[in-house]
């Protein structure tokens, strides 16, 4: 539980004149499940996208096992293969079946044989309960089904850590449950996860640590118990009371 996988130091990101992230510092340790919460536009997703270089940090450092990922000699592709990502909009390959979606990265990046890749893919598709749909195209699946395939695709790469970027935000309410239960099972199996989410129940009940972001900075960070029962910051309190009352209504 003590080995540090990712260490973010003084990370900032600007788009033109807008400073989206200001001096972000935090670490991810092996086996940790971290939930990042905060209102829309607070910089949660941008931070997550900086972690696997879908966005290039403007300044600051991100260390992966002590190596800076923005270093020119750093092997970005290998890093990305080891750091999985699950998107809000699934981003499954529309021209491939569910099975092929889970195989292509293994074959092209990890150089596994087709047979190996299919075995592993089937194993993870089974884990997310999608074995029946291995031949379906993304356009033939529901949102929840797509997201489960996307999770299987990330898992099939045997990643050290998976980043979740609001994985349930684009789903119909009745499909949120199926994805969350898959994620909960993953968390319990010891996978290291960083989850940007609006699902307060997940943040409270499943994660080891909760990070609250506001206006591009990390305002508060602590165990779920600390954050949900005794937040230090006024903004955290406001946000949580609003979110919890909304989700109760649903």
């Amino acid at each position: 539980m003590c080995e540090t996988i990712l260490e973010v130091k003084h990370l900032s990101k600007t788009f033109g004149e807008n400073e989206i992230l200001k001096d972000i510092n935090f670490t991810v340790k092996k086996g940790e499940v971290i939930s990042v919460i905060g209102s829309s536009g607070s910089g949660k997703s941008t931070m997550l996208r900086c972690l696997n270089l879908l966005e290039t940090p403007t300044s600051g450092e991100i260390l992966y096992h002590g190596n800076s990922i923005t270093d020119k000699k750093f092997d970005v592709r290998r890093y990305r293969a080891e750091v999985g990502m699950v998107f809000q909009s699934f981003n499954l390959f529309d021209n491939m079946s569910a099975l092929k979606n889970c195989c292509i990265g293994q074959i092209k990046v990890l150089k596994r044989t087709k047979k190996q890749a299919e075995e592993i893919a089937l194993q993870y598709l089974d884990k997310v309960g999608m074995t029946q749909y291995i031949n379906a195209r993304p356009s033939q699946l529901s949102g929840g089904q797509k997201q489960r395939v996307a999770i299987a695709r990330a898992l099939a790469m045997d990643p050290e850590i998976i980043l979740f970027d609001e994985p349930t935000s684009a789903l119909d309410p009745e499909m949120v449950g199926e994805v969350l239960s898959v994620m909960t099972a993953l968390a319990k199996s010891g996978l290291t996860m960083v989850v940007v989410t609006h699902e307060m129940s997940f943040a409270r009940d499943v994660s080891d640590r909760v990070v609250f972001m506001d206006g591009g900075i990390i305002l508060e960070e602590g165990t779920p118990q600390q954050i949900f029962t005794n937040p230090n910051n006024q903004r955290t309190r406001q946000f949580l009371s609003r979110m919890l009352s909304e989700q109760k209504q649903n």
Partner: protein, 545 residues
């Protein structure tokens, strides 16, 4: 704003480049005309250019009857006529083989200067204007101007030029006939005609009242078309005033050509009587039926005589369109792909990227911004001029032009297709560590190709029609060029083009249907099979073994 400026600069540069290429080579051709005689003798072949569409001087037939000579650049066509007889005579005296090239009237002098042919024997008069760009031999025929009219028209009884003051008389564009026409009334060059068959058709359909011709030509035309006659103004002081340089016909040669002296010596051995006999034979042997068949009769006659040529034309048109579209698609994918590469991380990479992006957009802009017909002329004649007379095979040239042109259009279609894909497709691939190439080949291109297929098949249909402009490349016999050949052989312009247009329509219509069917097939099944988990686990265990 910056982009607009860049495009303007680019176009100016491209135009300047083409300009310098052409002018610099226009002065000093790669061929040295002083070696003409030697090169003809050493190769054992003399290449003669003519229209093969100006009876009785030169016309075409479908067999080698009456000593006709195969046209070197048009498979299956034979040339005959007075010019061919003179050319044979010259070749024989020189002890070399005669090779006849059929070329458009306007491109004869170009072809000569580019070295594609060694001499022009095409019923051409040595006018002052032409003497500026080429030399001429001594005359090989002298004729006089007449006016061809309808027997049943208002001008059948005309005797002098002034009788034609109010008549709609035309002449072949680019000939001294147009200047002679000015002796009747003011001439508007834009209403003149390009070929004699067209003027004959116009006269027969009463669009015009008559046309200017040289007497041998008039005799041929009237022999082939029973409703026509010609007004001879030869011994009439009220006839056309012409200079010797106009009514004489001479052989066109490159400036300073060493062939000129040899040819003059040979012409000197050809007596007036021999020339007259040759001309009579040429008129007599002209293979044009003068029977009147009526509209349906004409259609039947053309189909009966030319069905094989029409089929060959269809084959050429489809082949060039298909290959051109496929190669164009490959070019378009490559260009579209290069233009959507992410920005390089190194400085040298960035510069290199700028350079090729500039070149690629220059390619796309230039080929989309100029007519394909003009591109064909620039590429074909540019190559012939720069290489010193080596011409491309016209089929290869046509393929090249269609491919490159289609490539420019498809490059833009591809770029649009790639840009219209959801950004998530790229991100999804990046996030599992796939390289740009892997992403492109496995994820982006398959989807792009599927999306752009309707646009590409549209390009294919457009190509079927637009390849017709490539008939400016003499020797490229597509469906449209077959139409022109039919007219040169039958003088039935309307019926020929009508048949050709029906065939074009049948082609595009049926191909559109077929392509639509293919697109529907490609969309794939709407269903997928649900796997029973038992089957899957069974498979898994099987695989695990």
């Amino acid at each position: 704003m910056k982009r607009v400026f860049a495009v303007v600069v680019l176009v100016v540069l491209a135009v300047a480049l083409f300009g310098t290429l052409l002018t610099s080579t226009g002065v000093a051709y790669a061929v040295s005309s002083a070696d003409d005689l030697q090169s003809v003798q050493s190769s054992g072949v003399i290449k003669i250019g003519m229209e093969a569409g100006y009876a009785p001087y030169n016309y075409r037939q479908t067999t080698d009857a009456n000593g006709a000579v195969a046209i070197a650049n048009q498979n299956g066509e034979f040339a005959n006529g007075y010019d061919v007889k003179v050319a044979k005579y010259i070749a024989e005296k020189m002890g070399v083989t005669l090779e006849v090239h059929a070329l458009e009237w306007d491109s004869l002098i170009n072809a000569l200067n580019a070295g594609t042919i060694d001499a022009i024997i095409a019923g051409m008069s040595p006018t002052e204007e032409r003497k500026k760009s080429i030399d001429f031999s001594d005359k090989y025929y002298e004729s006089n101007l007449v006016i061809v009219v309808r027997k049943d028209g208002n001008y059948a009884n005309a005797t002098q030029l002034s009788d034609f003051t109010n008549a709609n008389i035309v002449a072949q564009r680019g000939t001294f006939h147009v200047d002679a026409l000015a002796q009747i009334r003011e001439v508007n060059d834009s209403v003149q005609y390009d070929t004699f068959p067209l003027m004959i058709t116009a006269l027969k359909s009463k669009t015009i009242d008559g046309y200017v011709a040289e007497e041998p030509g008039a005799i041929s035309d009237c022999a082939a078309n029973s409703e026509l006659m010609y007004i001879d103004l030869k011994n009439n002081e009220n006839g056309f005033a012409t200079s010797e340089g106009d009514t004489q016909l001479a052989i066109g040669l490159r400036k300073g050509s060493s062939l000129t002296a040899t040819i003059n010596e040979i012409l000197a051995t050809l007596s007036e009587d021999q020339r007259a006999v040759m001309m009579d034979e040429a008129i007599e042997q002209q293979p044009v039926e003068s029977v009147e068949l009526g509209f349906f009769g004409n259609i039947g006659y053309i189909l009966g005589k030319y069905w094989l040529r029409i089929l060959q034309g269809v084959g050429t048109t489809i082949l060039v369109s298909i290959i051109g579209t496929i190669v164009g698609l490959a070019i378009g994918l490559l260009v579209g792909f290069l233009r959507t590469l992410p920005q390089s991380r190194t400085k040298a990479g960035k510069i290199w990227q700028r350079v090729y992006n500039f070149l690629l957009s220059a390619y796309v802009e230039i080929f989309r911004g100029t007519p394909m017909m003009v591109q064909a002329m620039v590429i074909y004649w540019g190559y012939a001029t720069l290489s010193g007379g080596i011409t491309m095979n016209t089929f290869v040239a046509a393929l090249l032009i269609v491919s490159v042109n289609t490539g420019a259009y498809i490059a833009e279609i591809v770029r649009g297709g790639i840009n219209s894909l959801d950004k998530g497709q790229f991100e999804g691939a990046s996030a599992i560590g796939m390289s740009h190439w892997q992403t492109m080949f496995s994820v982006i291109l398959p989807q792009t190709i599927k999306n752009i297929l309707p646009a590409v098949s549209n390009e294919f249909v457009i190509n079927i029609k637009d390849t017709s402009v490539l008939s400016v490349l003499a020797g490229f016999i597509d469906l449209f060029a077959v139409g022109n050949i039919i007219i040169l052989g039958t003088y039935r312009t309307f019926e020929a083009y009508l048949i050709i247009s029906v065939v074009y329509f049948a082609l595009t219509f049926s191909i559109t249907r077929i392509l639509r069917l293919c697109e529907r097939k490609l969309k794939g099944k709407a269903n997928y099979t649900l796997y029973n988990s038992d089957i899957v686990s069974a498979q898994q265990t099987a695989k695990g073994e």
